[in-house]
Amino acid sequence: MNPGIDLQGSFVRALIDLGLPSGVAKTVWLPLPMLLMLVVATVSIFICVWLERKISAGAQQRIGPEYVGPIGALQAVADGVKLIFKADITPAKSDPWLFAIGPAIVVIPVFLSFLIVPFGQNLVITDLGIGIFLWIALSSIAPIGFLMAGYSSNNKYSLLGGLRAAAQSISYEIPLALSVLAVVLMTNGLSTIDIVNQQSGYGFLGWNIWRQPVGFVIFWISALAECERLPFDLPEAEEELVAGYQTEYTGMKFGLFYVGSYVNLMLSALIVSVLYLGGWSFPIPVETITGLLGVSESAPVVQLLSASLGIVMTLIKAYLLVFLTILLRWTVPRVRIDQLLDLGWKFLLPVSLVNLLLTAGLKLTFPFAFGG
């Protein structure tokens, strides 16, 4: 297997060569990928917001943002600046502490989950053994934030929205986890790196989407519900609940919910591309291309190129999925709360269980194709 570029190793070695002790060198390295990931996540908000506005406009024959920055790319920055300068109002008789903590609890786990998103063989903050399980665990914290925000707002719509959000989150977590489990069953490991490596080899034919089509659809539906994207945006259903748990929020606290939802969308798209679309792998394996061109795989230029190709591929796949969600947003009407729970408990849960059983059976029968 191609080891790829080891940024950490080379960075630490360079610092040691400069005369630093190895412990200090590693400590200096530690915050760098985290900071980079924070920046990537924050920039992804701007890209997502821009895409959302532009694609929505395209679907409705409008132009969308045009004047803020080149082709309206800085619209999200303008929105953010506006939110920062707005008055931060705490409603009367609300619970100021819970009111302030709620949005933070929604946002922090989403950012933490970026720990396990890989962009290349070594381009990941930590290759945890529990990998994808960490994401599932962290995404289960968000409902507490919704409940907190809904409860503390002293508003019946907020409370209802918070309860709905939490109910939706916990009911779609189960099919989500079960479809992840089917992928994990084929990988023999929870690590995101292992999941991608198991799919590489046959180019796009080896991607999990061919072996787990049902799992892919279930995962995508559940991820949309977890992100509270349309058609599952019931917690903020404006016709019924004003804006759900966000009703009483203003300024940057409201902005945090906004940030959380867009980063969560991006994160879900990245995870889908890792789980089902081969992560950073190019549709034609890089090994085949280098073999055809007669270039050594370990040449530094080739390694650099394949690493950047990996990052670009991951992002392209993720943004394609974001595009699909936005298209879905303008196609499918919002479901009712009973339809939502019906879909979650009576359709997705049994189907994902059957999918898991089938995967286990296929794994035993065809170990070469379904990961022995």
């Binding site: 412990g23 945890l128 529990i130 962290l138 289960s140 916990i170």
Partner: protein, 200 residues
């Protein structure tokens, strides 16, 4: 003490303090919603302690099960119950309090003797690290098979019970019919044997 150990020590102190104070808050605060939220904090600091012990899987499972499921359900229960009861003096309330105190003291004594009697010898075997999941799985399906299966049967029973409760169809037009003890208002419904369905 090198840097890593220092970080570990500081995290241990912070997590331990958080856990103790939030647990005290769960018990002592009069607002039940605060107690529930602080319970989540307690669980999260416990999971932090697991991470310090190199048990990543257990930590994540702790967050998923206790914070993501149990605590959310507790919060749901608190927020959906809307019953305001007037405080009324209970006769001989001290009996209950005394009984609670006795049980708590007994539990404390039990745990205390366990703490003092346990050898607390640190295992010399290397930590499983990322392989911990496999070790846990092997234990589940060999020497801990019985408790594992018992737990799943318990969950199945709870699931069936929840379905039975949820499937009940209330009769809104009947005004408080005379009930026998331990029955719930329910539309009479003939039981259909599983697997056999009448033609329709």
């Amino acid at each position: 003490m090198n840097l890593a150990e220092g970080v570990q020590f500081v995290s241990l102190v912070i997590l331990g303090g958080l856990m103790i104070f939030s647990a005290l808050g769960v018990v002592l605060l009069s607002n039940i919603v605060y107690s529930a939220f602080l319970l989540a904090l307690t669980f999260i600091s416990v999971s932090g302690l697991y991470i310090l012990l190199n048990a990543g899987f257990v930590a994540a499972a702790q967050v998923l099960v206790y914070v993501g499921a149990v605590n959310v359900l507790i919060l749901f229960g608190i927020m959906l119950v809307n019953k305001v009861e007037v405080f009324s003096e209970v006769k001989n309330a001290w009996v209950g309090k005394a009984a609670t105190g006795a049980v708590c003291a007994g539990l404390f004594g039990l745990i205390g003797t366990m703490v003092t009697s346990h050898p607390w010898a640190i295992s010399t075997a290397p930590a499983a690290g990322d392989k911990a999941i496999e070790v846990i799985g092997q234990h589940f399906f060999s020497d801990f098979l019985l408790p594992f299966e018992l737990a799943s049967i318990l969950l199945l029973v709870a699931l069936v019970g929840a379905i039975v409760l949820a499937r009940r169809e209330f009769l809104p037009d009947l005004v408080a019919p005379q009930q026998e003890a331990l029955t719930l208002p329910e539309r009479p419904r003939e039981l259909v044997a599983a697997g056999v369905r009448d033609e329709d």
